[in-house]
Amino acid sequence: MHEMSLAEGVLQIIEETARREGARRVKQVVLEIGRLSSVEPSALAFCFDVVTRGSVAEGAELVIDEIQGSGWCMPCGKTVALGERYAPCPHCGRFQIQPTGGTDMQVREIEIE
């Protein structure tokens, strides 16, 4: 359940931003979660609801934008779409792929008032 730690990380970022901007309430939180990052969106959403209770972000709407995975296929010498870390290259069927996109998770923006 490291999603709980990640949700706490999200809350810290939100609280710092809300304080800096003098916000009374956070209405919406938009996250970008890469498909190859080690996080499960539904588990993160559950934890988000739990950790934001009693905070400035209580009841905020959570939007998670999933970013497609991609990787550099060494045999093909090009960037290919990657659904999973263990997936083969869709062109050559081999596994020598270095993930290059969709590995990050970040708080993109928040809506405050």
Binding site: E15, G59, V63
Partner: protein, 329 residues
């Protein structure tokens, strides 16, 4: 874990330190902190009611409670970008979007960078040992420490949910060890390790082993400031584990297959396990050992020597550059 707010972080205990406090902010903007020891604490009751959670046709996930305005948006489109943030006229509504673009693990990564610099400054090779519970990490460590303790300065940071049993096993070898208990936490993070570094006698010019909580999932995401993650798999587990837990085998530099002495008695295909792991991580280095009998230890100790040599050389190069700069000035 605080059963109301769900925070597990307040339960971390590092040997020799009082339990740390838990700070949080309330809706009215006040912050307060308090220890968690032996008590739960009251939060304002959750007023948002049950939120709801669904996936849009474009794959994005979306949850919200039903207590606030929810402008109509046609199916298949996202809320943000069309909501009040982009469309609102100044003065009509106080709502506004703030662009953040901050990595969720940014704070952990900043602590990890500080740990890494601290360790590099003392030419310490730090290794983060990760595996399932029961793969033989502690047995591997005790045999390794016994073999190395007369040759290199050594120290161990032990991570477990509860008990100091492992740290005691390590101390029995004569090597200093510090136990971190994560409470309900499922992994070590860079902040815990930073606190431990401040407390333990650092093995300058030697090796620091960090034995993570036995868990093949969560520790993959948390950089501790180590030089490399070493994933340990044992032949009593499934050969397909690298595919089942790909994040960890992707994050590791070295995979050690342990309990090779039991290979005749179990159905474990070593070549298949290595092939699966290299699907996830083509650069992964692999060693096979038996921590109880000592098979394969020469190669493992040689690997450690090479890595330690590289860390020391980096420090020497950096000191020589600094000396040259001072002499030239």
């Amino acid at each position: 874990m605080c059963t109301v707010c769900g925070c597990g972080a307040g339960e971390t205990r590092i040997e020799g330190q009082p339990p740390h406090e838990h700070e949080h902010e309330h809706a009215d903007g006040t912050r307060h902190s308090h220890p968690h020891e032996g008590e739960t604490h009251a939060h304002p009751p959750a007023t948002a009611g049950q939120g709801h959670w669904h996936q849009h046709a474009d794959g994005s996930w979306h949850s919200h409670s039903h207590t606030h305005d929810h402008p109509y948006v046609p199916a298949g489109t996202l809320h943000y970008g069309q909501g009040p943030a982009r469309a609102h006229a100044p003065g009509l509504s106080q709502a506004r979007m703030v662009r953040i673009e901050q990595d969720i693990l940014g704070k952990n990564d900043a602590y990890a960078r500080a740990n890494r610099e601290h360790l590099a400054g003392q030419a310490i090779l730090a290794l983060n040992l990760v595996s399932s519970p029961g793969s033989g990490k502690t047995s591997l460590l005790t045999r390794t420490l016994t073999a190395l303790k007369d040759h290199h300065p050594l120290a161990v940071i032990e991570g477990d949910q509860e008990t100091a049993f492992d740290a005691e096993r390590i101390r029995a070898t004569g090597v200093p060890a510090l136990q971190i208990n994560t409470g309900k936490g499922c992994h070590l993070d860079a902040h815990m390790v930073g606190q431990a570094l401040a407390q333990i006698a650092l093995p300058a010019g030697g090796i620091l082993f960090i034995e993570n909580v036995g868990n093949l999932v969560c520790p993959a995401a948390f950089d501790l400031g180590e030089a490399a993650k070493v994933a340990i798999l044992s032949v009593t587990e499934g050969a397909d584990k690298p595919l089942k837990y790909p994040d960890m085998f992707h994050a590791a530099r070295l995979m050690i297959i342990n309990k090779m002495d039991l290979l005749p008695y179990v159905d474990f295909d070593v070549d298949q396990a290595i092939a699966y792991a290299r699907r996830i991580n083509p650069q992964l280095q692999v060693l096979t050992v038996s921590a109880t009998r000592g098979d394969g230890f020469d190669a493992w100790l040689a690997w450690l020597d090479t890595e330690l040599g590289a860390v020391k050389q980096t420090r020497i190069d950096s000191l020589e550059r600094e000396l040259a700069r001072l002499r030239g000035a």
